[in-house]
């Protein structure tokens, strides 16, 4: 499934969830399902600065593809980053770098967020592309 198709799938899932409560339960569920990172991996260089909650992001190369893992002390934040991980994990650096991640604006989740957290979402997307760029160049 392409990045665009995965994004479309998420938007379809959300379309069945009209209320804020269901949408948040969906995000919280995604946060719970995303495996926790080990404390060893949660070093300060993996921390995304500028988020009110702590967010760690790790990326490694595997057969020319980028494998992401992420964690947060906030389960809602972790659910949000899980959306990105689901879309970008296992893709090639080139596909990640050229991906249009504006689907997050269509999820209807962003307008419920405090500006700091909405900004954190942009930071996460930027950071994931940055790591893909580093892996692609290595």
């Amino acid at each position: 499934m392409s990045i665009a198709e995965k994004q479309q799938q998420i938007l379809e899932e959300l379309s069945f969830l009209p209320g804020w409560q269901e949408r948040y339960e969906y995000v919280i569920g995604l946060g719970r399902q995303l495996p926790a990172m080990s404390d060893k991996l949660k070093s300060s260089d993996k921390l995304i600065k500028g988020c009110q909650s702590q967010v760690w992001l790790d990326a490694r190369a595997e057969d020319g593809h980028v494998r992401f893992s992420a964690d947060s002390d906030s389960v809602i934040t972790k659910g949000m980053i899980a959306l990105f991980v689901r879309v970008l994990d296992g893709e090639s650096p080139d596909a990640i770098l050229s991906a249009d991640l504006s689907f997050i604006d269509q999820t209807g989740l962003k307008e419920h967020l405090a500006p700091t957290r909405a900004n954190a979402l942009n930071l996460m997307a930027t950071q994931m592309k940055q790591r893909a760029l580093e892996i692609g160049a290595a």
């Binding site: 948040y24 919280i28 909650s53 389960v75 934040t77 419920h112």
Partner: protein, 402 residues
């Protein structure tokens, strides 16, 4: 002395709105309070009827604006029971007031500034900057597990090196009420100047600067139903007269030549530039408004609400309340295994506005081993029903998060 909050609520147009389809429950009053019509009217009337620059104009409007601005100063002085209105200096807020005092003090290496563990960053950083500039050192009064200050440690820290002691009257993060009179007396006995941060105290308690016997007291108008951008530095005349001016410019001068300038007397010595005239007038209107209801009646009502909230929340599993039982204004809590940001995000969806995070008290949060708390803070217009909505919203959020 109880009053009916449902009647005063109609004085606050902003409270009538819905958020996410639910009635707004505004419990972030320690951050800023909403403004009653009496205050909004005072601001508007100033611009509609008497707007002019003050002190120097010879025309009718300038005289009217000057009179209103100085009457506002008198009103603040009366509220604080200051010896004279000239001890009331208008600033842009509590932070500005503290920075003013930090800017005019001269310290030398070996001098000490004493602050408390409960302080807001605004009552830490200006002193840190002063210490960096002067080579003085910053000492911290520690706090107990219940969020009260360690008074024995405080007295042990006081010495002839202590040049300034700065502490808050009421903690913005925990609602702790410090024994300010005793602390002022102890600091003064050690020969220290004393600054009291009354930013959180001003809407909740009666302040009498003569009885308090501090040297400086600061607050922001917006915490007491007045607009943002206006605040007060009350300073003892004998202290301020001996200190140099700070910002240079209009109103703070007596005479200017290119060779040298001479400076105006209090309070104008510290009010360079055109002040926030409308803000000062609106602040006076806000003080009239709370006195019209009765500060004691307001305090009793808020105490009732905060106790009800503490009792209701205490019943929830794994809930930790911060601060002592006799907290005032703010109720801070945390729930084991739940991030405060998640809780705040979900109860916002239910129309409940609280503050989450470190409350500009990062050292205090570190002391308690948390990155932040959820804080509900109360004002005169809050109701029992809103407290119950808060508790129900927290319960519902916990069901979603657990």
């Amino acid at each position: 002395m109880a009053f009916d909050p449902s009647k005063v609520r109609s004085d606050f147009p902003i409270l009538a709105q819905a958020v996410n389809g639910k009635p707004l429950v505004y419990l972030d009053n320690a951050a800023t309070t909403q403004k009653p019509l009496a205050v909004l009217d005072a601001s508007r009337r100033y611009y509609e009827e008497i707007n002019a620059n003050i002190h120097r104009g010879t025309h009718h409007l300038a005289r009217a604006a000057t009179a209103a601005h100085e009457a506002a100063r008198d009103r603040v002085a009366r509220h604080l029971n200051a010896s004279e209105s000239a001890e009331v200096i208008f600033t842009s807020g509590a932070t500005d007031s503290i920075n003013l005092v930090a800017a005019i003090l001269t310290l030398v290496p070996g001098d000490e500034v004493l602050v408390s563990a409960l302080e807001h960053h605004s009552n830490i950083v200006p002193w840190q900057m002063l210490c960096e500039r002067s080579g003085a050192s910053l000492k911290v009064i520690p706090c107990h597990e219940d969020g009260t200050l360690d008074q024995d440690a405080f007295r042990a820290l006081l010495s002839e090196r202590t040049r300034l002691t700065a502490f808050t009257w009421i903690s913005n993060a925990f609602g702790t009420v410090n024994p300010v009179r005793e602390m002022c007396a102890a600091a003064k006995a050690a020969g220290s100047l004393v600054l009291v941060d009354a930013a959180q105290a001003i809407p909740h308690v009666r302040i009498d600067v003569r009885e308090l016997d501090a040297d400086f007291l600061v607050f922001s108008g917006h915490k007491v139903y007045a607009p943002t951008g206006i605040g007060v530095l009350w300073g003892r005349r004998s202290v301020l007269d001996a200190l140099p001016p700070w910002r240079g410019g209009g109103e703070m001068i007596k005479e200017v030549t290119f060779e040298r300038s001479t400076y105006n007397v209090l309070p104008f010595k510290y009010e360079a530039g055109t002040p926030n005239i409308e803000g000062a007038i609106a602040l006076a209107a806000a003080l009239d408004y709370i006195e019209g209801i009765g500060l004691e009646a307001i305090a009793a009502h808020e105490q009732h609400l905060i106790r009800r909230a503490a009792e209701g929340l205490s019943a929830l599993t794994d809930l930790r309340l911060f601060g002592p039982d006799d907290r005032v204004g703010a109720l801070s809590f945390g729930i084991h295994g739940v991030h405060h940001y998640d809780l705040g995000t979900l109860i916002d969806q239910m129309g409940v506005a609280v503050r989450t995070g470190h409350h500009c008290c990062q050292p205090l949060m570190a002391r308690f081993g948390v990155t932040g708390t959820t804080r509900a803070s109360f004002a005169l217009y809050n109701t029992e029903a809103e407290v119950d909505t808060l508790i129900a919203a927290v319960e519902k959020a916990l069901v979603m998060l657990r």
